[in-house]
């Protein structure tokens, strides 16, 4: 099926896709003073259908996001559009997709901010296997994340005896070492933008490697050697070309490229490898 245009003519009817408070009272002229053309990539990995782009004309309101536009098209034109979304506030990382060729969160991308005229093209994230339309398979991405052991490991902390549970002492300076990397929401945009992931299928990707640094730099963790060994693989941290596209697309301001370079510095021995380990509070005296 070739591209087609579906005019949205539901504005005199229910308007639940835009603003519930204005339901049924919204006039056509209020919403259609400006419209955009939304090109949506359509394909199904389970079928042999050749991929195509469906085109929708969407009325635009101020502050409208690309996710709003997609949901409008899904509500009033084609309910079969495959999208994954949840929080609508850039917290869950579900709605990652390529918008006008750049990996972005649809809920965090305002239509007014996009350049390229009236046309918005939505495509699935690169470097992820496609499931359907804009929905991609994150299994491998999460597997890479798990390989980095993304949790605190400390032999000194007794977590089996409840009476011995305690907390670590960390100064604000200690927290600053890894804080920005802990803002990662695992949306996969950096993984999609990475040119090395595109060529090397065994490269862990910027998200996993920056998380390796995040736990390496955390003073509560004392398994630094194991962490460095995980990253120091034939297809590991050394395959990063430092293109920096991961940092450029991160919606949370994380700089994965920086994390990778810092971890490389530790592996090269340029940075101090004698890591300060956080002390545990005395569980008895603190109670």
């Amino acid at each position: 099926m070739g591209p087609f245009i579906k005019k949205i003519r539901m504005l005199g009817k229910k308007n639940r896709g835009i603003d519930d408070s204005r339901k049924d009272n919204t006039t056509h002229s209020e919403l259609t003073h400006k419209t955009v053309i939304l090109n949506v990539y359509r394909a199904n990995a389970r079928k042999d259908d050749s991929p195509r782009y469906d085109t929708f004309e969407i009325p635009v309101q101020r502050w409208m996001t690309v996710l709003d536009a997609l949901l409008f098209a899904k509500s009033y034109s084609d309910s079969s559009i495959g999208i994954r979304y949840s929080c609508r506030m850039a917290s869950c990382g579900s709605c990652g997709m390529k918008i006008n060729g750049i990996p972005r969160l649809a809920c965090y991308t305002k239509i007014s901010e996009l350049s390229g005229g009236r046309t918005i093209t939505c495509e699935p994230l690169s470097n992820f296997p496609l499931i359907r339309d804009l929905v991609t398979d994150f299994s491998q991405f999460f597997e890479r994340h798990k390989e980095m052991a993304p949790f605190i490991r400390n032999d000194n902390a007794n977590i089996t005896d409840e009476t011995m549970l305690s907390e670590f002492k960390q100064s604000p300076k200690d927290v600053d070492q890894y804080l920005q990397f802990s803002y990662c929401i695992k949306c996969g945009l950096c993984y999609s933008a990475c040119p090395t992931v595109a060529t090397d299928t065994r490269f862990p990707g910027p998200q996993a490697l920056s998380q390796a640094y995040r736990y390496y730099a955390d003073t509560r963790d004392n398994s630094s050697i194991q962490r460095l060994n995980i990253a120091d693989d034939r297809h590991g941290i050394w395959r990063c070309h430092f293109a920096g596209s991961c940092s450029a697309v991160c919606p949370k301001g994380v700089d994965p490229a920086l994390g990778i370079q810092l971890l490389r510095g530790h592996l090269m021995g340029f940075s101090r490898n004698e890591k300060k380990i956080a002390e545990l509070r005395d569980p008895v005296s603190e109670q």
Binding site: T196, T199, D200, T201, R202, L228, D232, D233, R234, H235, G236, W238, R239, L267, M268, G269
Partner: protein
């Protein structure tokens, strides 16, 4: 078996060192009189009988061979990912490095007259 981090450390060190020795080599060639005659047979043989200069040439050979073939290994690793390919690439690049260094060293030894006993 070297870890990837150790291999990359060698890669970076040989790269920086190669830059230095090649720069010295170019400077020596430029400041030497009769630059246009430097490829004349007698002058080449004369160069090979200059001990500091053959040490420089041998250094360039070793550094560039190690750095270059490891670079090729990295490129080929990104081309395809499976164990037979990766092992094959590693074996090929190590063998090629050794072969190039051996052949180049032989040339230096023969031209310098050190191998004549």
């Amino acid at each position: 078996m070297l870890k990837e981090g150790q291999i990359m450390k060698i890669h970076y060190i040989t790269g920086i060192a190669a830059l230095f020795v090649v720069a010295v080599h170019i400077i020596v060639r430029l400041i030497t009189p009769s630059f246009s005659l430097s490829l004349v047979y007698e002058n080449v043989i004369k160069n090979y009988h200059n001990t500091p200069y053959i040490i420089l040439l041998e250094s360039i050979l070793i550094l560039v061979a190690i750095h270059g073939f490891n670079g090729l290994r990295i490129i080929l690793l990104e081309l395809r990912q499976n164990k037979p390919w990766e092992d094959g690439v590693a074996i090929f690049t190590i063998a090629a490095t050794i072969a190039l260094i051996a052949y180049g060293t032989r040339t230096i030894i023969v031209a310098s007259g050190l191998g004549l006993g």
